[in-house]
Amino acid sequence: MRNWLFGVAAASLIFGLAQADKAAAFERVGDRKVVVFGGRQQIPVLDPHVRYDWSTRMMQQAVYDALVKYEGNPAQIKPWLAERWEMSEDGKTWTFHLVDNAKFHNGDPVDAEAIRYSFERGLKLNKGVAWMLKDFLDPGSIEVVDSKTVRFNLKTPYSAFLSFLPWWYVVNPKEVKANEVEGDYGQKWLTDHAAGSGPFKLKRWEPNVLYEVEAVGDYWKGWPQGEKNRPGGVIYRIIREPAVQKAALMRGEADIVEGLTPDDYVQIAKQKGIAIQDHPGMTTFSIKFNTQQGPTADKNLRKAIAYALDYNGLLQIYNGAAKLQTSPFPDAIRGYVNIPGIPRQDLAKAKEYLAKSQYPNGGLTLEYYHVAGLEEARRIGLLLLDNLAPLNIKVDLRPEQWPNMVAKGSKVETSPAMTSVYITPISTDPDAVAYQYHPNSYGQYFAMSFYKNDAVTAKIDEARRSSNWDARAKLYAEIQSQIVEDQPEVIGMMQDRRWAMRDYLKGFSFSPVRFTGEVDLYPLWIDAK
């Protein structure tokens, strides 16, 4: 009887074991290799006029084209659907001439009407990218001159106009209209379908799992890596755990991953067959003070905190893969100037400023909000907590969900004393950064300081209307030094953009204007048998 019973037990154990799964080197479709990107963030909505974030825009860039495209480091605007363009004398009229051979995936030509419709759609939906242009461009003010020429008539001159156009993707109006439901401009359909002209077209769309795009063999602009080398497609696979991302990369189940911890990059770089992409980025980290309410309305207190922070600690938290800011503007922004005397850790100075403040002996507790789950922000909070102890200032670390944090920061009454934010300027034009300090931005997450300096406001307004670069550059230099003086935030550092990838992945092209994590999938290819 015992033997029999043990038999049952053994059988039930063996039941659980299946055959070993062999690790695949890389995925293939037919004889073409497929690039696998392992990312942590999902892509819920693909519609280019509704939503964007790094993962979404990476896919949008893959399946859609825009009039122009950012490429290279430093980022430059390259002609794309538009082969050339002109700006009128007064800076209010822009005319774009389209290439002849561009066509949508279904074969329709990309014509001026498609451009007009796409911009009108983006503005009318008033979602996603709309904010970039809606103050300057009315939906009805885009003219189709002829089938290959389109003209934009701005309300006021806007020097940064061109710098936003790479993010305005062009959809095929015929397809979108065919799939319109109750006048929704095809929003429902475009959520998980595409009507683009880009180098890839959608193949599989499994929300929360993976998104696969297939290379367009006869892409109108050709393939930079050559027809022979171009991949069969790209799979964007969602892998939420960094440990699993690493494992997938090591096993070759993913060819490139993003979002590992700083320590992971150091560790994984030592592995054979792994290459690290490490580039100075444009994303700034700062700790925004509420400059209008609470203790941090006191400029001397803000200065004291800024001088107490261990800036080298910031770099250490990133294992050195970061660069301290020397201005509120990131280095890659046009018109950036180095501001001398920007605060660095100096306890004597910190105490000096504290003594001048309304809290000469400290004895207060300040909240520090960060996005729940953002590791580095949490660690910087710990660092701050440690650094402010000598000033007898306590720090209350508050992890919070992003939407809730933004909601808090949208009103001056509820905006926390200190909030850590990462900001990636959407373009390389200085206005994209400077406008954060304009009262019109109040309510936005990057304006949680509720910074108010009328002189600065006036200069920002003046600079964005001027089309004379030299005049603008001078204004921006003044703006930068005034912001450092007013200390509406702890001006922190710019973290490097990093990806870990297999060394057989070629064609990686970095451009600082893209978001952290975002990669231009178009030139990638796999160089292996």
Partner: protein
Amino acid sequence: MSSIDMPAVAPEIPGFRERHASTIRQWRLYAHLFAGSFSSMLGLGLVVLFLVLAIFGPVLAPYPEDTLGAVKLGQRLLGPSFAHPFGTDEMGADILSRVIVGARTSLWIGLVITGIGAAVGVPLGIIAGYKDGIVRAVIMRITDLFLSVPGLALALSIVAALGPGIMNCVIALSIVWWPGYVRLVQAKTLSVKEELYVESARALGARTPWILWHHILPNCMTPIVVKASMDMGMAILSAASLGFIGLGAKPPHPEWGAMISVARTYMPDWWWYSAFPGLAIFLTVLGFNLLGDGLRDILDPRSRGR
């Protein structure tokens, strides 16, 4: 007070041992049965160890400042060594110290959740068991509503709405914890209510609160004690689970679940970071479960083997 007549002391009161002979025998029997079970003793040992850590934690921790958020970036992510038996974390803090001090947080979590659960659930259960009609119907309907969906799923939505943080975790888990006690106590009350001595007490005109306090509650104590012991562990585990999802304790407060939530990104190269807090959760929950299991074995005569 002084006006109360003290009963005259009888000249020959039998000794304590004689008077309480049956009680003493009962307890000796419990002790004997308990000590005879390896797993129960293991549970007791683990729980005692946990309590010692919770009470004396800050004294025992080798680097107490590390539990308050000291930053020592020079010694980040060191492996286990003599100076740091459990290694150090990403801020250079000693993991052993944080695990030790984390015991107090966990004890607090377990006590509060179990305590609130019992404090709300037991009275409701007794009332639902003792009263008929609409009162019972209402209480049990609401209880069933809460029990119709797994607690963790419900707690998740509550914390998600309230926002992350240990306090919110505790609130959420307390909200989903009490119905279990209502069910347990209501069933027990229903059966005790029918017992002869309760019937006779009622016939003799005892008031309801008196009956509830003197007859019903003591009879419900055994299952409550067993459940509470198990729940201590499960509450700690649930809070750690929420911590893992990213809804747990806020830094620099050492809490095991939150530590793992951070540490999981450091797997597998810095295994010690997640291994030791994980082990601490595991052993604590194991301890309370073994203890509860052992208690049930000896307190519930039905399952007693001898």
